[in-house]
Every structure is written in C-alpha cells, then in structure tokens.
Symmetry: C2
Subunit: 186 residues, 2 copies
Amino acid sequence: MSENNEKSQIKIEEAKDKVIGAIAETMDLYGVTPAAANLYATMYFKDQMTLDEMRTELEMSKPSMSTSVRKLQEIAMVKKTYTRGSRKHTYVAEKNFFRSFMVFYCQMWEREVKINMNAIEEAQDDLLNVIKESSSTPAMVAEAKKYYDQLEESKTYYHWLEDLIENIETGKIFECIPKKQKESLT
Amino acid sequence: MSENNEKSQIKIEEAKDKVIGAIAETMDLYGVTPAAANLYATMYFKDQMTLDEMRTELEMSKPSMSTSVRKLQEIAMVKKTYTRGSRKHTYVAEKNFFRSFMVFYCQMWEREVKINMNAIEEAQDDLLNVIKESSSTPAMVAEAKKYYDQLEESKTYYHWLEDLIENIETGKIFECIPKKQKESLT
DNA sequence: TATATTGTTAAATAAATTTTTAATAAAGTT
DNA sequence: AACTTTATTAAAAATTTATTTAACAATATA
C-alpha cells in the first residue's frame, strides 16, 4: 500500500502548507519582508535550520536569507543556536507566539512613546515660554494654552501605553486576560 | 513690540512642528504611507480641513490627499464632517489616541486571528485523517500528531488575542490598566 | 599559517509601491 | 438643464524597497 502511504505524506505536507501560507500572509502586520515572512512560517515546522537549508527550501539567495534571519532575530522570532560539530550557524524559530507578541509590540510601542514624549516635552516648553512672555498677545497666549492642553491630554495615552507595555512584559496582563489552555491529543 | 510678537508666533509654529514630525515619524507603525502620516500629523492641530487645504498645506497633489484621507478613514484616524454652506468635503482628525489604538489594533488582530484560525482548522482536519487512516505508517502518524499538537497549542494564543480584542473594544481593559488623567493648565 | 568554508557587505537589478498628471464622474448651483 | 466646482479613477512617472550577483571578510579546520 505504498500509494496510500504517499497520500498520507502528501496530506501532511498540505496541512503544513496551509498554515505556512496563513502565517506568511499575516506577517506583513509585523513589518517584515515577504522573504522573512515565508522564512519564519517555514521554520515554524522545523527544529532548526542553517542558511543553506533555508535557501534550498525557499529557493532564494543566501544574502536574502541572511538579512531575513537578522530581521527576525531583531523581533525575537528567531534565535541562533549552537550546534556542536557543525560549523554552519543554526537558527530556530520562536514557536511561542506570546513571546513574539510581547517582544514585537513592546519594542514598537516603546519607540512610539519615546519619540512622541520627547517631542511633546520640548513643544510644551516652547508653549510655556510663549504663555509667560509678556509681549505675547492674548490671542497667542490662548492659542499656546490650547495646544499645551491638547498635548497634556495626549500624554494620558502615552502613559497608558507605558503601563500596557509593563503589564505585558511582566506577564501581569494574564491576570486580567488569562490564557486558556486546552488539553493535547496524546 | 511686533518683533517679539512674531517671535512668539514662530515659537508656536516650532512647537507644533516638533510634534508633527514625531507623529509622522512613528506612524509607519500604522502601515500608512508618508503622505498619510504627514497628513494626519498636520490635521492633529487643525479643527477641520478640505482636500484643497490639505494639498496647499502639504504641497502635494489632490489625488494623493484623497487616497491618504481614505486610508486614514479606514483606520478611523480621520472622519468626514458635514459643514453647511461649503460644498467641499471637510475632514477632522481623531484626536483621541485611545480610539485610534482600539480601531487599528483590533482590526489588525482580527484579521490575523481569522486567517490563521481558518488555516489551522483545515490543517488539523487533514492531520486527523492521516492519524485515522489505517494505511499510514507509525512514523507518519507520529509526525501528524506532533504537528496537530503544535497547532492546538498555538490556538491558545489566538483565543487570547480574541479576548484581548474584546477587552479593548468593550473598554474592560481599563479596569486592569487604568487611564491616569492629569489636570489641565487652566 | 594556509586553505576551505561560511557569512556579510556593496553595488546592481528587479519588483513593488507611492505619487502625479490627465481624464472622467459626481455633485451642487444658477 | 447647463454650467461650475469638487472628488475620484486610470495610466504614467518617480521613488522606494526588496532581492540578487559579485566581491569581501570572518571563521574554523587541517
């Protein structure tokens, strides 16, 4: 019955390919290139891979694999592993989506908070100077106040984002929104 | 003292420009084009704008403004308003970052959950067939089980993401991570 | 230390996206 | 209903981004 055997093997490959396609498709949300998205999705069903295995599997150039892997390492979706004996570097995909989520979004949001908070602090300084400056007309003072308050209001959001980041990084968020594990097949 | 007046006006403009620059810079995180990012940041300090005002202010073409505005509407960062008397359409920027956050990320995560869950369900069906199929070799069954369990495990994440979405959309998340409002200047 | 192998950087090519100009459609006014 | 104004769509141009080929650097092995 080697025909049926083959059929089963094909079914397994089809099953993997469906998931690989879906992961790759949604990974544009993580701001990675199509090559990196395909690579991660492929690695999701592998123990570990070398650069040469990657380029064979995806039929792409080695530098493309190299840059893709580095990008994926930046967002902690891939880690380098040490494999004794082999002098090729080996890499493994992070298979825990919670960890990828944490690293990616916290990194992203931290950048957003930092850049915008810096700008806001500087802008509020400027606006306070206009407000205090005796030669400013009343209309200008009013305008400066309006913007100052608008910025102050927006800081509520950035502070909240900071708290969200901390709750995610410490795992405290799972007290509020728990993980619901199901049991396995075996 | 019209010189000092001018200086104050310039200071106000500088203050705005700092924030506009920062918002535009971090808006690549929201997957919008530079034109749309600049547009939103500019509108953040305006009551409302028409397409013609946008193209004058940003020195870009009208179709570019038109498509940018539509993209911003999709992620609820801009809303159309009715202005009696004017036959030009007018648009306002959503200035509440919490609302933008909610719409953007929930939309994004919903898409991720839907696409991946569909693929996982189909893949698990295939894998179950392999497992049940009497002609599958023990090695194949073992492989199919391994992948099945890996996918089952990942569903914990997608279910959690669904719960996160719901907590954000209903505002329940603020019970867990509260907003900390500061008082205004006036 | 020389050599072979692997990984990375740089320049060039290819592909995709963004923006503009030009044409069309839609809406409002007289 | 014709005309004017505004917004959108389609095609073309320009820009940016992704990928590859080729050269270089680094590493490990003999």
